[in-house]
């Protein structure tokens, strides 16, 4: 009788398939828990103690947030409260958000919740992209807070006639049709002043999330207009 090849043996393939399926299952379940731990929101204590979390506490709205190129990681990272010697967040430099830099954890969380619910109610994702989810009809909002167009010398802030980034963004959100740009015009969604405040807090917090440099090249774009 001819010698049977192992390659045509059923048991060999069964055992191989069982090994790969079992191993992949364990790896993916482990990955799920590892990811949950990494994307869980930090606390105000973390910020106070200078602990960098991928998703910082809501009280990050009390701090200055910038986008700095990190040599080690070779992409931009959000830097909260000024940069330390290692090029990461120092959690020192505060920045007033709607006139205050002492938002408590509960107040900030409430504001962020209002913003999140607002973004869902107004369906921002129908046109915009938030953290990789949504559409590319309108600018990616993941790092919108860091867009220099909204900064002190930015065109958007100048257009709204406001003196701070958050007020300019809130004004634009309430009356987008009054501030047309060269790009597609945002429709008036009936956003109230309080909702706009929440949405801007939501955007500032989102910009402070370490998204491994996503969206790519945002920080390198001169002016970073439209967050492309």
């Amino acid at each position: 009788m001819a010698k049977r090849s192992v390659w045509s043996d059923n048991r060999f393939w069964q055992r191989t398939a069982a090994w790969i399926t079992g191993f992949a299952s364990v790896l993916l379940i482990w990955l799920t828990f590892d990811t949950s731990a990494q994307i869980s929101m930090g606390t105000d204590a973390d910020i106070q103690n200078g602990v960098t979390k991928r998703v910082p506490a809501p009280t990050v709205i009390n701090y200055k947030v910038t986008y700095e190129f990190n040599k080690k990681r070779q992409h931009e990272i959000p830097v909260i409260g000024g940069m330390n010697a290692e090029g990461t967040s120092a959690f020192q430099e505060k920045e007033k958000f709607f006139g205050r830099d002492d938002w408590s954890e509960a107040e900030a969380a409430e504001l962020l919740r209002l913003g999140k619910l607002g973004s869902q109610a107004k369906n921002c994702m129908n046109c915009h992209t938030l953290l990789g989810n949504g559409a590319y009809y309108a600018p990616d909002l993941t790092k919108a807070w860091l867009d220099p167009a909204w900064g002190p010398n930015g065109s958007m802030q100048a257009m709204t006639g406001k003196s701070t980034k958050e007020e300019a963004m809130a004004e634009f959100l309430q009356h987008p049709s009054q501030y047309p740009t060269h790009a597609r015009m945002m429709p008036n969604l009936g956003i109230t002043a309080e909702e706009a405040k929440g949405l801007v807090a939501f955007l500032k917090h989102m910009a402070s999330i370490d998204s491994n440099g996503f969206p790519r090249n945002f920080g390198k774009m001169q002016g970073a207009v439209n967050g492309k």
Binding site: V6, R11, T35, K72
Partner: protein, 54 residues
């Protein structure tokens, strides 16, 4: 310019971070854990078939 082995760059040290340090790190890992046991299973099955006289 780049060294063959670069220091770990992820935010938080994690096993999965080590698998995402370059284009080949995940590939090499998966091939290792899939192919090495396959060789072992192959040898066992070969021995079994020979024992059964096939």
């Amino acid at each position: 310019m780049n060294a063959m082995f670069e220091p770990f760059t992820d935010v938080v040290p994690s096993f999965f971070g080590t698998l995402a340090q370059g284009p080949l790190t995940l590939t090499i890992f998966l091939h290792t854990v899939i192919v090495l046991p396959m060789i072992w299973i192959y040898k066992q099955e070969k021995a079994r078939l020979e024992q059964e006289g096939n």
